[in-house]
Amino acid sequence: MARLILRRIAISIPLIFVVSMLVFALQSLSPTDPAQALLGTGGTQEQLDALREKLGLNLPLWQQYTNYMAHVLRGDFMSSYRTGIPVTTLIADRLPVTLALIILGVVVGTIVGVALGTASAIRGGFFGKLLDFVSLAGLALPNFWLGLALVAVFAVGLRLLPSGGYVPFTQNPVGWAVSLVLPVAALSLGGIATIAKTTRESMLEVMNRDFIRTLRAAGLGGGSIIWKHGLKNAAIPVISVVNLNFIGALTGTVFVESVFVLPGLGSLVVSAVNGAEIQVLEGVALTFTIIVVIVNLLIDISYGWLNPKVRAA
């Protein structure tokens, strides 16, 4: 187990550097001169040179990168050239929105998916058909389109839920929950599909194993056999899919936040691309990477909990 976690961390550190270097290298290719952009059109050549000097843009690229990373390691993600707002502030303001969205999206996807997959493995019939339908829909409908369709039906048509916008939890918990219903639904459908399919396959395999028969022969009830012994043994492939869904949700959130006008990291990225604000992009890239690293670690730990053989390794 310790080895597994160490290995994960050993992969994670280069990961953070690879992503930050990648984004940083891309910056140097950019036709936009940050100093020029900051100064606007009115500045003189002297002012421009002074600003370039001040921002360290005259240094070789690798030196710019090490300077940047030195700041990052001290928790300073620099400031937006355009607005002067520190990137850490921008991210801290928006992180709760995105975290709420992706965590709820993945959790809802997992719970519904596991329930549906288990039901269709044990009962088949109606649940099997429902699962086939959901997995087809989850596969076919891109989440931005699904989000719009949900808005058309539940916000514009039935007027049950808001079509977009965000209410902070601290302001109004109920409003917060209501504002997240449609975005979470749009984000989680794909996950429900993949989780349900994996759960069904894995459960069918586990239910045919000898120990299930032994437990039944000992008089244990269906509930314990399915939900305790069945699910725990069937969980490992499902957990791998949860991991993939988390990474997928980071992509999904960019589109879903845009559809529902949510002030999260996804919409921050979109506006940063439009404004060519590389500091902001770099900051979000690192934040996303750190989220991935944390999720991977949690997933590895859960493997250990689920499979005692892994724990011993």
């Binding site: 044990i122 120990f211 028969r213 039944r216 022969a217 056999i225 725990k232 979109v270 691309v273 053989k309």
Partner: protein, 596 residues
């Protein structure tokens, strides 16, 4: 060497034959041909858009804006009166082109690297694998966004980036398949006989990879299309009046309140195309799996927990068996079939025998004789594909076959216990021995608290003569030896002191010395508890050693049953004699006779 080469050539021939066969099957495989045809129609329609589309995609008709489908505009018009159908046909060009760009990059990057890693192995493989692992953890969207911010929002750049990032997954699959193919006889034979590496990879490895490669590429295409349309929806890589599928969704979003129908054509075409890609992948997987692997037998039937397994079909189940002659357990006229209707096979036919209190009955026969099926029927644990056609299983006069699942649960464990064949497989690998044993103990005696449950578990393990029982409670099944695991299984079966113990080949999977220990344990438990034991085995030596009486089964029928001395001294049936003569170890009988 020559012989090896001959094998190699013939197996190569086999492969080419298989490949031609695969192609023929592919053409006549509807799950592949239907999505492929639909996709072809969509692609052709988009490519031929200049010829097919009824209007210029940019032409505005301000007299007909936001219209629903009509004879004039088949899919309606948008906010500027532009024809939706024409915009989708032209828009498909950029969307599908984006998918093609990503696929080409995926293939160009992923295939060679995967082949190299899998074929050559060693340090190259390790280096590639580490990079793959890192790339797979990169949240691709931010890299794509960074690229878009730099390369003047070019869709080509975004799709190329997506292809590169996605190639990590392809490398993994190509590598794994290459490693598998590389180890096969005909490939190593070709290598030994000096065929050039390049041509081995090209002629022998590549064809085998084609299947998984196409599967992976179809899945990737469906994701690439979702990403491409998503980026276009966000307004990246498309210059505004130009049509694109994602852009059409964005235009529909502007009119959500006025004309929600506009969402349908754009979403519909995106969904249909994505599904086609995905279904092509699925179909190819089905095709290649059944072509390359011989073991394409039927799916194992789903174990039907809720319904409690098999159904009792025949109402004519022997009502006449009232005279149990004081037997504890009485099986009479039992007939069981697998499968449905015409394809049903009878595996157990008119089987009857009895078990008295304190008696050990051997159920003997070769594999396939129906002895295990008979034993499992007693516990109501037949797979769902089995049907009980006739007969009864009476425990103290109550017919177990007529009980419902809930009632059967009261019988299992507390009246009848089971020890099964593979001790390592019959314990749940995810829980400690203590946890499993504890759960079973609590199931039968709900009043116990934590400490009492633990004490009872320890007592059970001591009863089955386990060394270090306290330590074993904390262990997981994979930390036990086969003999220890079987002792745990026996302890679990004894948890509620059943009257009947069914032992289904409990020693077959164990080492010889451990076998003797376990047999001795079962004998001593039987003597201490006085319960009835049904001992299922193919080993007549064990029967002679342990049983009072034996029921000999062959092809689902009872051929002979008698007490052990009669059976061994004067077997009535030819089959029994045959079995006896095939068991050399029966010199033990006199010893047993003396003790009996």
């Amino acid at each position: 060497m020559t012989a090896e080469l001959a094998t190699a050539t013939s197996s190569v021939d086999l492969r080419t034959a298989d490949r031609r066969h695969l192609l023929r099957r592919a053409v006549t495989f509807p799950p592949l041909m239907i999505p492929l045809s639909v996709l072809l129609v969509i692609v052709l329609a988009c490519v031929l858009a200049p010829l097919l589309s009824p209007y210029d995609p940019l032409a505005q008709d301000l007299l007909h804006v936001k219209e629903l489908p009509s004879a004039l505009h088949w899919l309606g018009t948008d906010a500027l009166g532009r024809d939706v159908l024409s915009r989708l046909l032209f828009g498909g060009q950029t969307s599908l082109l984006g998918v093609v760009q990503a696929l080409v990059v995926l293939l160009v990057v992923g295939l060679p690297l995967g082949l190299v890693a899998g074929y050559f192995g060693g340090i190259v493989d390790r280096a590639i694998s580490v990079v793959v692992e890192i790339v797979m953890a990169i949240p691709s969207i931010v890299v794509i966004m960074a690229v878009l911010s730099v390369v003047s929002r070019s869709m080509l750049a975004a799709m190329v980036t997506f292809g590169i990032l996605g190639s990590a997954g392809l490398i993994r699959i190509v590598r794994a398949t290459t490693i598998a193919v590389r180890g096969e006889l005909y490939v190593s034979a070709a290598r030994v006989s000096g065929v050039r590496q390049g041509s081995i990879v090209f002629f022998h490895v590549l064809p085998r990879i084609a299947g998984p490669l196409i599967v992976q590429m179809s899945i990737f295409a469906s994701i690439a299309l979702a990403v491409q349309t998503g980026l276009a929806y966000l307004g990246f890589g498309i210059i505004v009046p130009a049509p694109s599928w994602g852009g059409s969704v964005a235009e529909a979003a502007q009119l959500l309140a006025a004309n929600p129908f506009l969402l349908v054509p754009s979403g519909g075409i995106i969904a249909i195309t994505i599904v086609c890609f995905a279904f092509i992948g699925d179909a190819f997987r089905d095709l290649t799996v059944s072509t390359w692997s011989a073991s394409s037998g039927g799916q194992p039937s789903r174990s039907d927990l809720r319904r409690g397994g098999s159904r009792l079909v025949a109402a004519e189940a022997a009502q006449s068996g009232g005279d149990d002659g004081g037997a504890l357990l009485s099986v009479s006229g039992l007939t069981i079939a697998f499968g449905e209707g015409d394809r049903a096979t009878t595996v157990v036919e008119d089987v009857s025998f009895q078990l008295r209190r304190g008696e050990v009955v051997g159920l003997v026969g070769e594999s396939g004789s129906g002895k295990t099926v008979t034993a499992l029927t007693i516990l109501g644990l037949l797979p769902a594909s089995a049907t009980i056609r006739a007969g009864s299983v009476r425990l103290d006069g109550v017919d177990l076959l007529r009980l419902r699942e809930r009632e059967l649960r009261q019988v299992r464990g507390s009246r009848i216990g089971l020890i099964s064949q593979e001790p390592m497989l019959s314990l749940d690998p995810a829980f400690t021995v203590g946890n499993q044993l504890g759960e079973i103990i609590r199931r039968h005696d709900r009043g116990l608290d934590r400490r009492q449950v633990r004490a009872r578990a320890l007592e059970l393990l001591e009863f089955v003569q386990m060394r270090n029982p306290a330590d074993v409670l904390r262990r997981f099944p994979h930390e036990l030896s086969g003999g220890m695991a079987q002792r745990c299984s026996i302890a679990a079966a004894l948890a509620a002191s059943p009257d009947v113990l069914i032992a289904d080949e409990p020693t077959t999977a164990l080492d010889v010395t451990v076998q003797a220990e376990i047999l001795e344990l079962i004998r001593s438990i039987q003597q201490r508890t006085g319960m009835g034991v049904i001992f299922v085995t193919h080993n007549l030596g064990v029967v002679a050693d342990l049983c009072d009486r034996a029921v000999v089964m062959q092809r689902g029928r009872v051929v002979e049953q008698a007490d052990i001395l009669t059976l061994f001294a004067a077997p009535a049936e030819p089959y029994t004699r045959q079995l006896l003569s095939a068991t050399p170890s029966l010199v033990e009988i006199p010893e047993r006779t003396a003790r009996a």
